[in-house]
């Protein structure tokens, strides 16, 4: 949404850009954006379940923001919030102009998939299921670059 808004704003001014979707590969389905305090890695990220989606905006917040493998902490400001409440995504979108990638969600510039992974992501993982009222994801920090940029 923010990426398309930036694209439209540039287009009004005669600047053509490419919409990029940063996706996970190598069997990882989700990415966790900065910042988290790591308690155990690899491990399990355990959130409280809601019917809305998976994961549902990190809400409701567990005690002390502790999601087992990681504890939530102040991250990059963005989306008109000091720390956006959603920090786990299946993918992430921004604009490419020339060789740079402009990220309107966080006001950042990325240089490559490796740069995005190294500087903006804490870990990657997969949905594992549910136990009672808790959603469970496996999480780890892969040594290889697992983010791919897919032009739309």
């Amino acid at each position: 949404m923010w990426a398309e808004l930036l694209q439209d704003a540039w287009a009004i001014n005669g600047v053509a850009s490419t919409n990029i979707d940063a996706q996970t590969s190598n069997g990882y389905g989700y990415l966790w954006a900065n910042k988290w305090i790591i308690n155990q890695m690899p491990g399990y990220w355990v959130g409280l379940s809601t019917e809305v989606g998976i994961p549902a905006d990190l809400l409701p917040t567990p005690t002390n923001g502790n999601y087992n493998a990681m504890t939530n902490t102040t991250g990059a400001a963005g989306q008109n919030s000091p720390t956006p409440s959603q920090k786990c995504w299946p993918d992430h979108a921004f604009q490419q102009y020339g060789s740079l990638y402009y990220d309107p969600s966080y006001g950042l510039i990325h240089f490559s998939p490796t740069d995005l992974q190294t500087n903006c992501m804490t870990c990657f993982g997969n949905y594992m299921g549910q136990s009672g009222s808790q959603q469970i994801f496996s999480v780890e920090q892969p040594s290889e670059t697992v983010i791919v940029f897919v032009p739309e």
């Binding site: 989606g53 998976i54 299946p90 496996s138």
Partner: protein, 257 residues
Amino acid sequence: MKQVIQVIVSILILVTSSAISQTSNNISNSQVMKIVMINRPTNIFIRMLVPGSALHQSKSRTVEIKAVQISYRFTSKPNSGLASFISTPTFLEIHDPYTRKICFIDADHSFYVSDTSGMKGFTVGPGALIWSYSYFELPDSVGDSSAISQFEKSFDDQKFNQEWDNRKRNRIELRQVVPQFYFSDGPYPGGGTPLPKLETIEQTDGILRLDIRNPVTKIPADFWIDLKSKKVTKSVVDGQEMDLNTGKPFAVPLKAK
């Protein structure tokens, strides 16, 4: 002389009590945590798949059967693994009418499959099919309360951790065999990923056919899955067969190749 003996005795007591304390800690760290039921078992209905076989001319069937759902807590907080963070591990006691066994397995799966290898629970998650096996099985002739009691005696936090660790391998990725954003709540990045709605399940000769629908976009998807090789052999999304070899994290329609 008396004072020297008193000092030696004091030192011996200190050393001994320290050793006892250390031993006690070691035992505590390796102790397994049992489970305690936290409320009365409740009856629910589950969807169970009975596989078919071309050789035996038996058709795959899906039946609704009654199961007993039981919620527990661990006697003390486990020291490690997922169990240390799960507040109410919940299980099903299933009377399998085909194998004549009572099975105890994780609750919350989308459907259950009974075959000669035992009971398995399958979850159709956003982007993956995940399964787990029953923790404990015993003959159907055993009464309910005795079966639950035997399950509780046999179960601990380490078994729980092991079965959940196994889910990292007991899975087949579906995200790679559907178009980009299929599992999202809309055709754009950064959306939520709701649990897919399960419509039809069939299994014949080890091939699981799974028909699902995105609950938000209402788009259907049908998969043919070889459970032995853990591979999706065919995928049809919204009526279009998918190219499964794009080299990307998602598939595209075969016609668009």
